[in-house]
């Protein structure tokens, strides 16, 4: 298994500002995933972050809004840019076991935009 730490665990932000969420893994992993969980909803994949290359974004998500960094094999950041109340969600970092697809999750970052 993998232990994943996310910071901040929660934050309240003003409309129009940006927030960067950090994800630290206790082992080296090739692929890291960022998910969004809107209130009362399931998880939606935002992007896949591979070390040494640009992140791959899912339909409906763009780099300008959700820039991602992946400087090494244990760390990644997700920035939520120019926030609006619609961005109020839980953002979850995840890593996977490549041969089965099993995922391990951080505890999430709960973002409220006023």
């Amino acid at each position: 298994s993998a232990v994943i730490s996310q910071k901040p665990s929660r934050d309240i932000c003003q409309r129009g500002t940006s927030l960067t969420i950090q994800c630290q893994v206790d082992s080296q992993v090739t692929m890291m995933f960022w998910y969004r969980q809107q209130p009362g909803q399931s998880l939606t994949l935002i992007a896949t972050a591979n070390q040494g290359s640009e992140a791959t974004y899912e339909s409906g998500f763009v780099i300008d809004k959700f820039p991602i960094s992946r400087p090494n094999l244990t760390f990644s950041t997700l920035t939520v840019s120019n926030m609006s109340p619609e961005d109020s969600s839980i953002y979850l970092c995840s890593v996977g076991r490549p041969n089965t697809g099993e995922l391990f999750f951080g505890e999430g970052s709960r973002l409220t935009v006023l």
Binding site: S42, L92, T100, E102, L103, F104, F105
Partner: protein
């Protein structure tokens, strides 16, 4: 293409009674199937997984699930509910990450446990 359907948005049981959370999937290949649990204000925790071995899978906290290919189902069960089981449960279908498979989450089933 893959999809997963959780048939109940919420389930309410009394403490000590059986739990059944239903999940149906669609996949054009042999999938891996998972159940995750999310307690309030927590991340997701793996309950159990099916990856083409035994069709009856036992997980943590007394939960188990049976993979039924003929019915394309992977229902989650527990013989006796405990108050601490109250949480959101997600059924997930995927394949090997390096194979370019998408991980698809069900909509979730909220389990309520009454004293």
């Amino acid at each position: 293409a893959q999809s997963v359907t959780q048939l109940d948005s919420h389930v309410s049981v009394s403490e000590g009674t059986p739990v059944l959370l239903r999940c149906n999937y669609s996949s054009s290949y042999s999938p891996s199937l998972f159940w995750y649990v999310q307690h309030p204000n927590k991340g997701l925790q793996l309950l159990l997984k099916y990856t083409s071995a035994a069709t009856l899978v036992k997980g943590i906290n007394g939960f188990e699930a049976e993979f039924k290919k003929s019915e394309t189902s992977f229902h989650l069960t527990k013989p006796s509910a405990h108050m601490s089981d109250a949480a959101e449960y997600f059924c997930v279908v995927t394949g090997p990450l390096t194979g370019g498979f998408k991980t698809i989450f069900g909509a979730g089933t909220r389990l309520f446990v009454k004293a």
